[in-house]
Assembly symmetry: C2
Homo-oligomer: 219 residues x 2
DNA sequence: GTTCAGAACTGGACCGTCCAGTTCTGTGTG
DNA sequence: CACACAGAACTGGACGGTCCAGTTCTGAAC
């Protein structure tokens, strides 16, 4: 037993098996996002991925396992997308403009129909899959605020911000920027996702408040 | 049309029919909150309310209708609870303390297991019941911020706050106060609902930032 | 001869309906 | 006030039709 050698199936492969697996994952992602966990049936996933149900169950032991795999992958992927290129503030750069850009990067990634739907999906399944929600929290808001806290601590050390507790400042910044559009899109649907211009205005207003509270001497 | 005379069935009655109807609503609330829309079956509701399924369908035409009735009622009820006694700021009262109390009232109502679960439920069903989510948005955050905007406009008129756009200030205040605990409880479950002491600290920190940005001359 | 598609199948869950028999409620009558 | 009675509401159970997760079988392709 256990004579399998192709253990690289879950990273990136181009064998037939890996291709099918990818097709299943893609199809399942779409269907789960559209219909929710209970609202999704495996036949639809098999049909959409152009694969027999037998093949689906060869790759994933159950509906639950497939769901966990997909949601886990999406949250981690999205989290990585946000925090890839964290530009630092240059010496001659404007602090407010820098913070606005920082905010906009976050907003434009999170306020995407797919990511919003993922959020709704996970929130709706908190009871059934608490672990998934915890992962989303860690890889999402918690991670973002941890990164922010580091940035703020640095800026405070350079005398550009007057911050007592970087973690709290990061929370305040994060939610000043994200909450309004996030909650709106969450409940009013994807059509309520603000345009980039609106997001910019929102970010600027948030940064203004943030700097009023945490902006150091150079006001 | 509308020749019905006994329209008082949905307010408060004590007849047998009204009692059963209430029992059904109570049971259905519990089951829906616990298992979600698709995860709930009508047999369980009938059993828990100690009523035959026939009676359930005599009062509510379908599972969907029952669900809409319950969620609608709960959102409206919770919204009213928050905005019942809106005390105004007295002449000799401390502004910061007043705002902290204002925030705490909101927090302690919203951060309840039942209300949190309702939020999760509605968010998870945005696609299936967009109207319900819209109602929750209107009766929840939108209403709260509208009330806040009125309060802030008044305070600004009295020279206690320096506010340009009351609506934006209300948004900032609302989310400075609510976002951190709300998001945490939303994803990490009811066990992550902060204690009242933590909520107070959170409110105080939020008010501090708010007043730094919007506090008028009397700083 | 291994893998997969296609299709059928199992076992079970569930919505909504139906029905025969029972209980409640309100109204009229002596 | 006691009683009878009609109509509405309710029970308990059964059932049709549908849906679905997961398994199994057959035939074909490579």
């Amino acid at each position: 037993m256990g004579s399998e050698v192709n253990e690289h199936a879950d990273v990136e492969g181009d064998g037939r098996s890996a291709r099918k697996r990818r097709a299943i994952l893609d199809a399942a992602t779409e269907v789960f996002l559209k219909s929710g966990y209970l609202g999704t049936n495996m036949d639809e996933i098999a049909a959409l991925s152009a694969v027999s149900k037998q093949t689906v169950y060869k790759h994933f032991s159950s509906k639950e396992a497939l769901f966990v795999e997909i949601v886990g992958g999406m949250t981690t992927g999205a989290g990585d997308t946000v925090h890839n290129d964290v530009a630092q503030l240059g010496p001659d750069e404007d602090l407010a403009a820098y913070l606005v850009e920082y905010a906009l990067r976050q907003l434009t990634v999170v306020l995407t129909p797919r990511i919003m739907q993922l959020r709704r999906l996970v929130i709706g399944e908190v009871t059934r899959f608490p672990e998934l929600a915890r992962v989303l929290y860690e890889r999402g808001p918690a991670r973002a605020m941890k990164m922010l806290a580091v940035v703020f601590k640095d800026l405070a050390g350079r005398g550009l911000l007057d911050i007592d507790d970087p973690a709290i400042a990061a929370e305040h910044f994060n939610w000043l920027i994200m909450s309004a559009p996030l909650n709106q899109a969450m409940l009013l649907g994807d059509d309520a996702i603000p345009s980039e211009a609106e997001l910019r205005r929102n970010a600027e207003a948030g940064v203004r408040v943030f700097l009023a509270a945490y902006g150091g001497l150079g006001r």
